[in-house]
């Protein structure tokens, strides 16, 4: 293999695939990035067997070939190179990659490309197409709510329901749920419902460029999902199992609803979080209606038994009665961060029923947080 490309393009490509490299694997080749030539492009591939990413970089191919090179070493070296043409040549006998750029040169020992698992993305005539920025927004609204610990594997994924004209993402850990929907111009003919690892979607979100359309494919045996971008592809294993019936959990009614400035509420919750840090993150919300004028106050408070306390007050629109509920400040913060409308609605029933956040006048998006029960 003998190939050359621009340093910036190579560095970008390496960072796109880099996150799919296995960090702690018993299979040494998975810590490597595969470099292979494909027509007049250099293809970079990495996989940790859960997700795999292919990325193409424009290159001048002098001699076809493939090898795998330790990811960290190659990325660190390439990113330190000047923005000039990088020439790479594989010495097949020793599986050593000679890398030259200006007056810099390195020889990096690799592993035979034969040992690298193939990341195959099937061709499909009629894939589902989703606008890149729609997909990005949906990931931002939902994926953070997925569980990070593996005790219930289905909860580490995002339920993706793709209908002919709409798609819905839902994710939950044991304490909160995020659900959002968007219209879909080119959906599947028959509805598809799969659970995609939240991490895969977050990686996808990272590599989607502006104005891009993403093609989505689910393997016929329903164990893999493929996303095809203009110059990259991502494949992910799907999570097996049944996602909890989230529609059941979304409360049907409430006793109190407030509408507040999203930015102001977020600021107050952030402040409370500082004090709640060593008190299990407990943040107390108290709604005090003024009277019948539909206005009132929201009082946000946190107390640290060791260090002190903090109280903030916001003017809000209130319907319904006064109520006091405690939430985990971190969950409130993360949910408010995902809401991009100027105003947010919070609906509550009582101190032990879920709180419901919705963007006011915005997209179809609902976020449910279970409260904390506070010892009195």
């Amino acid at each position: 293999m003998k190939v050359s490309c621009m340093q910036e393009n190579l560095a970008r490509g390496l960072s796109v695939v880099g996150r799919a490299v296995a960090t702690r694997s018993t299979l040494p080749v998975l810590s490597n990035i595969m470099l292979s030539t494909e027509e007049s492009r250099l293809k970079l591939s990495a996989t940790n067997l859960e997700i795999g990413i292919n990325c193409w970089v424009g290159a001048k191919v002098e001699r076809e070939g493939a090898t795998t090179i330790p990811a960290r070493l190659l990325s660190d070296f390439v990113s330190s190179l000047p923005p000039e043409r990088v020439e790479m040549e594989l010495i097949a006998r020793t599986q050593t990659l000679n890398v030259k750029c200006g007056r810099f040169e390195a020889n990096i020992k690799g592993i035979d490309a034969q040992e690298f698992p193939l990341i195959l993305i099937p061709e499909e005539d009629d894939p589902i197409r989703i606008q890149g920025d729609s997909l990005r927004q949906m990931v931002d609204r939902v994926a953070f709510a997925a569980a990070t610990d593996e005790s219930r594997p289905v909860l580490t994924g995002v339920l993706a329901e793709l209908d002919p004209d709409e798609f819905t993402f839902a994710a939950a850990d044991s304490y909160r749920l995020s659900v959002s929907s968007m219209p879909l111009a080119e959906g599947p003919e028959t509805p598809v419902s799969v659970i995609v690892p939240a991490r895969a979607l977050q990686e996808l979100r990272r590599i989607i460029g502006d104005e891009e359309t993403v093609q989505v494919l689910v393997s016929p045996n329903r164990n893999q999902i493929f996303f095809r971008l203009e110059s990259a592809e991502l494949v992910s294993q799907l999570v097996e199992g049944t996602f909890p019936d989230y529609k059941q959990i979304i409360p049907k009614g409430h006793n109190t609803r407030i509408e507040a400035s999203t930015a102001d509420l977020l600021k107050a919750v952030r402040m409370a979080a500082i004090f709640a840090r060593d008190a299990a993150n407990i943040c107390h919300l108290q709604v005090v209606p003024n009277g019948d004028d539909g206005l009132g106050r929201l009082i946000i408070a946190a107390t640290s038994s060791e260090y002190g306390d903090n109280v903030s007050e916001l003017d809000v629109r209130v319907t319904g009665q006064s109520v006091e509920v405690a939430f985990n400040a971190r969950y409130l913060q993360e949910a408010l961060n995902a809401i991009d409308t100027a105003e947010v609605a919070l609906e509550m029933r009582d101190p032990s029923s879920p709180g419901v956040l919705r963007p006011v006048g915005g997209p179809e998006f609902v976020h449910i947080i279970m409260p904390m029960q506070v010892a009195r």
Binding site: A172, A279, A280, M370, M372, V374
Partner: protein, 399 residues
């Protein structure tokens, strides 16, 4: 620098629940009072006033039996939620003397008064003051022991009950312990007591005469500690809450271990102990840490941070297993396994669950188990999977 002689005070409220009930209802004063469930149900005695104890009533005895022994006794149902407030008031009195207060349970605490002489006078004098103030300000009787270490102070306190004040001067520790029955010592349970009695050892003094080597041969690792304790030696510090950042437990296997099941059971048993320790102190842990030492003494420590802080054994155990599976090199023999919980927070709230309520059910179950163990002893109830070889690890140690 560690001063040569410490001044440790152990404070123990006398018949605490019963004393609080007397405080709430002064007409009970001077009468035999039993705090416990109803005798028709299968209630047991949580606490009994000394007048009731005089008839032979003891904690953990079925209430029905207690009432047979002491028919004139007045039975009161436990007033849950009230005792904590009174306990807090007492602890506040203690904290007025030194910040170095270690609360052992709702009705017991150690104070380290070393270096406080200039401020409050000699420790025995302070102890007398504390006894008066707890009586006058909190309305509760208590007993105190003063000694140069926790072990002797606690035993001294027990010897003076009720309303006693026993002072063991420096240098007199071994002499003070010598005539006492061996079971008075911490760590001498029923089984060990029986073993020692069979060997003709009935008092701590006789135990002190045995060589350390002999005790180690008889009781393993614990034998060494026993030897020191019998001499009245104990250098464990008084732990304040502020210092408590983690709790952990370790176990060294008699023979190196290669099978997962043995490690798994040991982890389960340690998780049980740690979780009980957390609950006893009203703490929750954010981080779970697994320690493995291989036969060549290479030691691996790995930890994981939880979404929600916990005081539940099942959660600690589940995380520990996850760490074990991820990091244990199965080709190698394990010599020691340890489980630790850190990032400790004072429990202040409970995150409700979205889908099921198993966490809450488990919390209630743990609470019930704690109560059963508090009344009937640690081995009164255990997991079936731990039954066969009765893992009885040491109490959780702190770091």
């Amino acid at each position: 620098m560690v001063p040569a002689v410490r001044q440790i005070v152990h404070v123990d409220l006398d018949a605490f629940y019963a004393s609080v009930e007397v405080l709430l209802d002064p007409s009970l004063r001077g009468k035999p009072v039993i705090v416990g469930g109803s005798p028709e149900g299968r209630g047991v005695v949580s606490s009994a006033s000394y007048q009731a104890r005089a008839c032979g009533v003891r904690s953990a005895m079925p209430v029905a039996q207690a009432l047979r022994l002491c028919p004139q006794a007045i039975r009161v149902s436990p007033s849950h939620g009230v005792y904590g407030k009174h306990s807090r008031a007492v602890m506040e009195v203690l904290e007025g003397y030194t910040p170095v207060v270690e609360q052992l349970s709702i009705d017991e605490a150690f104070l380290d008064l070393t270096g406080c002489e200039a401020l409050w006078g000699p420790a025995p004098e302070v102890a007398r003051q504390i006894q008066e103030r707890v009586r006058d300000e909190c309305g509760l009787p208590c007993s105190l022991g003063v000694a140069t270490n926790k072990l002797v102070a606690k035993i001294a306190c027990g010897q003076g009950k009720p309303q006693g004040l026993v002072i063991v001067p420096p240098g007199q520790e071994a002499a003070f312990l010598a005539p006492l029955a061996i079971e008075t010592l911490w760590g001498v349970g029923e089984a060990m007591g029986r073993r020692l009695r069979e060997l003709g050892v009935t008092t701590i003094g006789q135990l002190a005469e045995r060589s350390e080597a002999e005790l180690v041969r008889l009781f393993g690792e614990g034998g060494g500690r026993l030897h020191g304790a019998a001499q009245g030696l104990d250098d464990s510090p008084v732990h304040t809450e502020r210092e408590r950042r983690s709790i952990s437990q370790e176990h060294t296997f008699g023979a190196n271990v290669a099978d997962r099941q043995t490690l798994q059971r040991r982890l389960l048993s340690m998780a049980d102990h740690l979780a009980a320790g957390l609950r006893r102190e009203g703490l929750v842990a954010q981080t779970v840490r697994l320690k493995l030492r291989y036969d060549d003494f290479e030691t691996v420590t790995r930890q994981v941070t939880l979404d929600q802080p916990t005081d539940q054994a099942d959660v600690l155990y589940g995380q520990a297993l996850g760490l074990l599976d991820a990091h244990w090199n199965r080709q190698r023999l394990v010599r020691l396994i340890g489980l630790g919980a850190s990032g400790l927070l004072r429990e202040g709230g409970y995150q409700l669950e979205l889908f099921d309520h198993s966490d809450q059910r488990n919390a209630r179950l743990s609470h019930t188990l704690d109560e059963i163990r508090a009344r009937f002893g640690r081995h009164a109830i255990t997991r079936a999977s731990l039954l066969r070889d009765q893992f009885t690890g040491p109490e959780p140690s702190d770091e």
